[in-house]
C-alpha cells in the first residue's frame, strides 16, 4: 500500500542553507551539500530543495545575470544528487522549459514551479509535455486576506490577485503532478499546519498535495495527513532537533498514518 511521505524542505539562499520565518527572516544554518549525506541515512522519503535567492527576481530582464546566478545552484544540485538515493525535487527561479531541463540534467527527479507558472500558466503545460506531469510540481504560497486564500508570488513578496483553490484547480488541469502548499504566515511559526487550507485544497484537486509551513511538533505531521494531504513536509524541525526523522515517523505511525518506518524492512528504527 502506498505510504504517506515525510519530506524535509531545504531552503537555499545565495548558496547557503537558511531557516525562514514568514518568508522574510532568513538565518544561515549550514552547508547544503553536507546536509544530504545525513538525510540519506534517515528514514525520510524524499527531499525538496528550494532556491529562494531573491536577486534574480529583480534582475528578471537581465538574462545574462540570471544565467550566471542559476549556474551556482545547479552546481549544488549536481553535488547533492550524487549522494541522494531518494527522490529530489528542485525549485526556485525556474522560468522556462530549458531551466527545467537543466535541473533534470543536473540530477533533479522533479521540479517545482511557482511565480512564473502564475504569470505564464502555459509553462506548466510545456513542462508536463516535455517531462511528464509526474515530474512537474506547482508550489502555491498562500496568505489569508479577509478570509480569502490569496496566492502570493516572488517568495511571498507580491499578491498575484489569484485565489488559491481556483489556481490549484487550474494548475492541475494544465498538467501539474503535485501541489506543494505553503502558508506564508505560518512559515517558521511552529504553531501547526493550516488544516482548513490543506483540507480545502486537497478537496479541490485530485493530484497529491504536499502540506508545508508551520510544523512545530511531531504530532503536527499526522494532522496534515488527516486534513487530506498525501505527503507532509517541513523545514526547521529537521534542522534543530536530533533524530527528528525517526521521531516524526514514530509519531505518524502512532497516529495510525501508513508510513515507511525504515529503509531496511524488518529492522526497527
Amino acid at each position: 500500500m502506498l505510504k504517506h511521505r515525510l519530506i524535509p524542505v531545504l531552503l537555499l539562499k545565495n548558496g547557503a542553507l537558511v531557516r525562514s520565518s514568514r518568508f522574510s527572516f532568513h538565518q544561515v544554518i549550514g552547508d547544503p551539500v553536507n546536509k544530504v549525506e545525513r538525510f540519506n541515512e534517515w528514514s525520510v522519503d524524499e527531499l525538496i530543495y528550494l532556491d529562494i535567492s531573491r536577486e534574480a527576481v529583480y534582475n528578471r530582464s537581465r538574462s545574462d545575470i540570471r544565467v550566471e546566478q542559476l549556474s551556482d545552484p545547479l552546481a549544488i544540485l549536481r553535488r547533492v544528487s550524487k549522494t541522494c538515493f531518494m527522490p529530489l525535487t528542485w525549485g526556485g527561479r525556474l522560468r522556462t522549459v530549458d531551466d527545467m531541463r537543466a535541473c533534470f540534467l543536473h540530477g533533479a527527479d522533479k521540479v517545482t514551479l511557482n511565480s512564473q507558472a502564475v504569470r505564464t500558466p502555459d509553462l506548466i503545460v510545456q513542462g508536463a509535455k516535455a517531462f511528464g506531469s509526474q515530474a512537474v510540481l506547482v508550489s502555491i504560497d498562500v496568505k489569508r486576506i479577509d478570509g480569502a486564500y490569496r496566492v502570493f508570488v516572488d517568495c511571498g513578496g507580491a499578491d498575484s490577485g489569484r485565489e488559491a483553490l481556483e489556481w490549484a484547480r487550474e494548475a492541475e488541469s494544465r498538467g501539474a503532478g503535485e501541489i506543494l502548499l505553503q502558508e506564508i504566515d505560518r512559515d517558521g511559526m511552529a504553531t501547526g499546519y493550516g488544516l482548513d487550507l490543506i483540507h480545502d485544497i486537497s478537496r479541490a484537486v485530485s493530484i497529491p498535495v504536499i502540506a508545508c509551513s508551520g510544523v512545530g511538533k511531531y504530532e503536527d505531521f499526522a494532522k496534515g495527513i488527516e486534513a487530506g494531504a498525501s505527503a507532509v513536509a517541513a523545514a526547521n524541525i529537521f534542522h534543530f532537533k536530533e533524530l527528528s526523522d525517526r521521531n516524526a515517523k514514530r509519531a505518524m505511525a502512532k497516529a495510525r498514518c501508513n508510513v515507511r518506518l525504515s529503509n531496511i524492512p524488518g529492522k526497527p528504527l
Binding site: E46, F104, D109, A130, S133, I207, S230
Partner: protein
C-alpha cells in the same frame, strides 16, 4: 564494469550515474554508438513524456543503435520508469504513440479502482514478486520502492512480469524478457533495496 547510460536529453541522468558510482562501477553517459558499444550493461533512464522521448531516441539514431546492441550483441538493458515504458509496444500518453516494442506489453493511463487514490502515483509502495529472478536476489521481502508515474505497464505476455505493485489494481513493477529488464519504480531513488536491484542487474544478468 562500464555501465552505458543512454542520454536522450530527458532522463535523470545524474541520479542514475551517482547510483552506479556508489556501486563501484563506471557510468558512461552518452548518446554515441561507439561509446555505448564499450558498455557492459545499458540503462535507459526515465523522466519525461512518452512521445517526446521516442522522438528524441529517433532523432539521435538511438533506436537503431540500441536494437543492434541489445539483439545482435545481447547486451543486457534496463529500462527505468519512462525508460521501461518506452520498451513496450505502445502508449496512450498524449495520444497514441508507438514504443520500441521489445517487451510484449502496453503502457496505459493509471486508473485506480478506488477514486480516493490520486494520480500520479507518487511515493513508496510494495513490490510483490511473482517469480524468481536474478533481479530480485537479496532484496528482503517487504522492501519498498519509490514510484512516480501517471502511466503503467500491462504485459500481454504474463511470463515477463517478475513482480507487481498494487495501486487500486495491479500493474507490472519489474519485467524481464531475456536480456531486457525493466522497473516501473526508480531503483536509483529507492535507497538500499533499489541499489540492490541495480547491483543485481549489473552483476547477475
Amino acid at each position: 564494469m562500464i555501465i552505458g547510460i543512454v542520454d536522450y536529453g530527458m532522463g535523470n541522468l545524474a541520479s542514475v550515474a551517482g547510483a552506479i558510482e556508489r556501486l563501484g562501477h563506471t557510468p558512461l553517459v552518452t548518446t554515441l554508438r561507439d561509446e555505448l558499444d564499450k558498455a557492459d550493461r545499458l540503462i535507459l533512464p526515465g523522466v519525461g513524456a512518452f512521445a517526446d522521448a521516442m522522438d528524441e531516441l529517433r532523432r539521435r539514431n538511438l533506436v537503431e543503435t540500441l536494437h543492434d546492441l541489445v539483439f545482435e550483441r545481447q547486451r543486457p538493458l534496463l529500462g527505468i520508469c519512462l525508460g521501461a515504458q518506452l520498451l513496450t509496444l505502445e502508449s496512450d500518453e498524449f495520444g497514441h504513440n508507438r514504443g520500441l516494442g521489445w517487451l510484449k506489453a502496453r503502457t496505459l493511463r493509471l486508473a485506480p479502482s478506488d477514486p480516493a487514490l490520486r494520480v500520479p502515483h507518487v511515493g513508496w509502495n510494495d513490490l510483490f514478486p511473482l517469480q524468481d529472478s536474478p533481479l530480485l536476489r537479496d532484496v528482503p521481502p517487504g522492501s519498498l520502492f519509490y514510484y512516480v508515474h501517471s502511466y503503467c505497464i500491462r504485459a500481454d505476455e504474463p511470463g515477463i512480469v517478475v513482480g507487481e505493485c498494487d495501486y487500486g489494481g495491479r500493474f507490472a513493477a519489474v519485467l524481464q524478457s531475456g536480456n531486457i529488464c525493466a522497473t516501473q519504480f526508480h531503483p536509483e531513488k529507492s535507497q538500499k533495496p533499489g541499489l540492490q536491484i541495480l547491483r543485481n542487474f549489473i552483476e547477475r544478468t
